[in-house]
Amino acid sequence: MIAYYGVVNDGAFWHWTTLLHFSLVALAGGVALLTAYRALTWARFPRRLAWTAVALIALDLVVLWAESEARFRLTHVYLFLTVQPASAIWWGAWGLAGSAALGLLLALGWGPRRLWGALLVLTSGVALLYPGLALASNAARPLWTPLMLAFMPVTGLLVAWGLALLFRQNDLRPAVAGLGVSGALLGGLYLVGLAFGGLDARAGLGELWREGGPAFVVALAAMLATPALVRRWPAAAGLIAVAGAILARTLIVHIGAFMPPSM
């Protein structure tokens, strides 16, 4: 029997705005990577795609700025005035800002397209990787395992490229299929890892199962089904994969804040 005197700070610290951000950042990063890929491979560079990437990145940055309680303190400038290599969000800020700048240059057609494209691959890669790092770097939260470093970028890219299928980017079909399968496999590996993890990991798995276990499995199944459908119904397959990826990511971020009670 445990009771408390005083207010315990165990409430949620990331709310629905953060969950929205985790999906938007995936979209922004994925589309930026697609832009970089097109810039490097296609002769005729689709300027509209670059504008879309810039718009998505801008949207995500606005959501990030609006959700923070320090929005009117304008302290976000310090993200770019210090060097914090161990901070995922610091990398994220530079990744997103860099991608936005390069996307703009590509969209306006200024400067060497292939160079910007190559750089954009790097910055959009950072933008896709940093959410995973933001979760994995919290050792005290058993549901945010190091596997997040792989699961979040894969599902992030799947969200963006899966959605791209709806805009007749059919050359991405094999990639989306691959992403779908690897996302589902990583999800399965994640669950197995939790099951055989330590005391806290099992407690975390219990929490995940209670709070949203079945939905998580459905999400993984949706991703797994991508290769089977992507050939004949690319749009439908894309949509299912995106839904699965977004659901899986949101569940992990929301439930993952769980921390086993201190003994």
């Binding site: 029997m1 005197y5 005083g6 207010v7 320090a70 303190r73 304008l74 302290t75 400038v77 005035l81």
Partner: protein, 772 residues
């Protein structure tokens, strides 16, 4: 069209820009006015003021930190023997009460034509309000005589409204809850056993004791600062602790031995210990012969009360009872059974307290290192005023109470409760019947100062009926409590940080005097107690007794009687004098510390025998709870004081709601889980709640336990309203102790009625936002 108005904001002569902006510290940062770190109070110019706390009766000396016209923090200070530089949670949290938006702000007069309890008031100036009160009191004095005016008082201000003003107005009907609802059994028993009371600061010699037995004494849950410090240091020094309590209290969790006694059977246990000490000749023979009388009568009396006899009654193992008695003797005289404080339990409490004192006496620890020291009150002269027409014997937790013999003839009728019990001090709950029945004579007026009528006095229905029958009911308080909103006139008092009070003289090993001085100006239109009493006195034609122009000269005159002055005391805060703590000190000066008729510790009390009571303590089996009911026990939360801190948002964040403790097995049997909400219904069908269940192993199955002070019903206070259950509301009956006048309040039995809805209350954190 311009509405002309008279300016109330004067154009100050101060030139614009007098405010210099503090230079910005911090390197390598852009000057960003939007993101400046909030300026903390301790970065301003902080001045400190020494005073003493009012958030409980213990009166710890505090150092108030003031910045920008507001008190931000209070701390203890080392030179004060009560706080010794430390404070309890309520002392720390008292500042939040001064800045409670629900505080009473200005005098209020009940609207003509409105009923008492409707709470319809209009603001009034102090002149008008005091005028109405004085007129009312003079009318009552005219019609029924001055005795017909009753004063209830509690807190440091009870010197003004419990002693000074009633004595000048000449009414004996003064009641203090600190007597008959708390300490009267232990004071009366001590008065007739040792010839001196216990006093406000229990004279237990914690520094030197090696063995402590606590009976129903919840150190750690009641955080009387000095006592908690001494208790912790004694345990740290290796003193052994035995706790006798039906509940596994905080003290029990620190004890070497916990005796989960059946409620109401403590006297049997004490008699068994006396039996073992006498029969195995473990008592201190030399001490008994030198300082006590009546040992032979005691020896004969306790002969049949063997541990085996007590075991059946108390549910405790006979072997353990015997072992504890032997351990007590082994550690004597550095073994002590502290008296506790709230001792009005079953209506035969004076006898229980005498039994406890007799065990101490047989251990030879009274006036000896490691037992009880002999507390001496400090010497301080009274203010020279003409003799009061009469001295009300309302006692108080720091005043001796109990020698009924000396009923001096004052030319006025005795208090209405005279004769209903043996002790001389008045019993606040026994003054109420006279308001309804008019027997022995009518009480037509009441001034309630700092007394929560509906949360301290049992039988609340009777109190409400009495309030309706009064001609005049005046409430002087800091918060708009439930009973305050019944008053005809409400006079708002300033909180302790905003006022002077009379000097506090604490009887102690090193007796000392504490000064209270204001740290800030009173907020709104509130006044200090002394000012209200004095203004009332002048309007009642008692100016001869209020022959001091203001409180500063009153205090200065008193302080000069011991060679100090108000100015010196304002810097010092506490004036410590020398004491005579042990018997040896008294014998050196050929003085006898025992004020009993026999001049010795009276193991058998002839006075009690003459008054028709048992001269030696006897065990009286308590009434058993009916089937399906449980005895309602109550106690304290470390962060709350009675029913006065439930609107303090800081303390309520610590502990915002009481719950009803139920034995885990019993709860399972009733199908209840922790967190379910139930009603509590007592033996007379009075129901209160809803309250959450706390199924725990820490309690015997035959009783339930709640923290006292919660369950305020729609009071004037937003945070306190509707949180938890009120144990006092469930006490529709009590058993009067015929000797001390104490109201035994452990005699309520309650049923748990499941299915109560969980009350929808604003989240505590949001409460401070003050929206509806």
């Amino acid at each position: 069209m311009r509405l002309k108005r008279r300016a109330f904001l004067k154009l100050s002569a101060a030139s614009v820009g007098a405010m210099m902006l503090a230079p910005e510290a911090g390197a390598l940062k852009l000057p960003n006015p939007l993101a400046r770190a909030p300026r903390a109070w301790y970065q301003g110019d902080v001045r400190t003021v020494l005073t003493y706390c009012e958030n409980c009766f213990w009166k710890c000396g505090v150092r108030a930190s003031v910045e920008g016209g507001r008190v931000w923090k209070v701390d203890g200070y080392a030179a004060n023997p009560k706080s010794r530089g430390r404070l309890c949670p309520r002392g720390q949290g008292a500042v939040a009460q001064t800045y409670d938006p629900d505080r009473l702000k200005r005098p209020l007069i009940r609207l003509e034509g409105s009923e008492r309890g409707e709470g319809k008031y209009r603001e009034a100036s102090w002149d008008e309000a005091l005028g109405v009160v004085a007129a009312g009191m003079l009318a009552i004095k005219e019609k029924y005589g001055s005795e017909s005016m009753a004063f209830f008082a509690h807190g440091s201000g009870d010197t003004w409204f419990g002693d000074y003003l009633p004595a000048a107005f000449a009414t004996p009907n003064v009641g203090k809850p600190s007597v008959s609802l708390c300490t009267s059994p232990r004071e009366t028993a001590a008065q007739w056993t040792f010839g001196r009371g216990i006093g406000g600061h229990e004279p237990v010699d914690w520094e030197n004791t090696d063995y402590i037995v606590l009976i129903g004494h919840h150190i750690g849950e009641d955080t009387h600062n000095t006592q908690l410090q001494d208790f912790s240091m004694a345990l740290k020094r290796g003193a052994r602790l035995v706790v006798v309590d039906p509940r596994f209290s905080v003290a029990a969790s620190k004890a070497d031995r916990w005796l989960p006694i059946k409620p109401g059977t403590d006297t049997a246990l004490l008699l068994a210990w006396l039996n073992v000490l006498v029969s195995e000749e473990l008592y201190d023979r030399a001490y008994v012969e030198a300082y006590t009388t009546g040992f032979d009568a005691l020896a004969a009396h306790v002969a049949p009360f063997t541990p085996e006899w007590a075991s059946g009654i108390t549910d405790l193992d006979a072997g353990v009872i015997r072992v504890v008695a032997r351990e007590l003797a082994a550690h004597a005289p550095r073994a002590v059974l502290p008296p506790g404080r709230h001792t009005v339990w079953y209506g035969n409490d004076t006898q229980r307290m005498r039994a406890l004192y007799l065990v101490n006496a047989l251990l030879g620890n009274y006036g000896v290192e490691g037992g009880f020291y002999l507390a001496q009150p400090p010497y301080i002269g009274a203010y020279p005023h003409p003799a009061f027409p009469l001295e009300p014997s309302s006692g108080g937790c720091s005043g001796a109470s109990g020698d009924a013999a000396a009923t001096i003839d004052t030319g006025f009728r005795p208090s209405v409760d005279r004769g209903t019990f043996f002790a001389k001090t008045t019993a606040v709950q026994e003054l109420i019947p006279a308001m309804i029945t008019g027997e022995p004579y009518r009480i037509a007026g009441l001034v309630a100062y700092g007394v929560n009528l509906f949360h301290s006095i049992p039988d609340v229905a009777r109190t409400r009926q009495a309030l309706k029958a009064l001609d005049l009911y005046v409430a002087i308080d800091v918060l708009p409590m439930d009973h305050v909103m019944w008053a005809d006139v409400i006079l708002p008092e300033a909180t302790y940080l905003e006022r002077y009070d009379d000097l506090v003289a604490i009887a102690h090993k090193t007796p000392f005097i504490e000064l209270r001085q204001p740290a800030v100006e009173p907020m709104w239109d509130t006044k200090p107690g002394w000012w209200i009493a004095r203004e009332l006195g002048l309007r009642l034609g008692l100016e001869e007794y209020f022959n001091w122009p203001d409180i500063e000269s009153y205090l200065d005159t008193r302080l000069r009687s011991i060679g100090s002055s108000l100015e010196k005391a304002r810097q010092q805060g506490t004036i410590v004098q020398g004491g005579r703590p042990y018997l040896a000190d008294w014998e050196k000066r050929h003085l006898n510390p025992f004020g009993t008729p026999s001049g010795r510790i009276e193991l058998a009390s002839q006075t009690f025998a003459d008054a028709g009571f048992d001269p030696l303590p006897v065990f009286e089996a308590p009434e058993e709870p009916p089937e399906g009911s449980y005895r309602l026990l109550y106690g304290r939360s470390p962060v709350h004081t009675f029913a006065k801190t439930q609107n303090n948002w800081v303390l309520m964040e610590m502990h915002g709601e009481n719950s009803v403790w139920v034995n885990a097995a019993e709860a399972r049997r009733l199908g209840l889980d922790s967190g379910d909400y139930v009603w509590l219904e007592n033996q007379q069908g009075v129901r209160d709640g809803p309250v959450a269940v706390y199924a725990t192993e820490r309690l015997r199955p035959d009783c339930v336990y709640v923290v006292h002070g919660f369950g305020h019903r729609a009071p004037g206070m937003k945070i306190a309203d509707g949180r938890g259950v009120s144990d006092t509301a469930l006490m529709s009956r009590y058993r009067l102790d015929p000797i001390s006048g104490g109201a035994g309040m452990h005699v309520t039995f309650v049923k748990l009625v499941p299915g109560a809805p969980k009350p929808r209350l604003p989240r505590l954190g949001k409460l401070a936002e003050r929206s509806v």
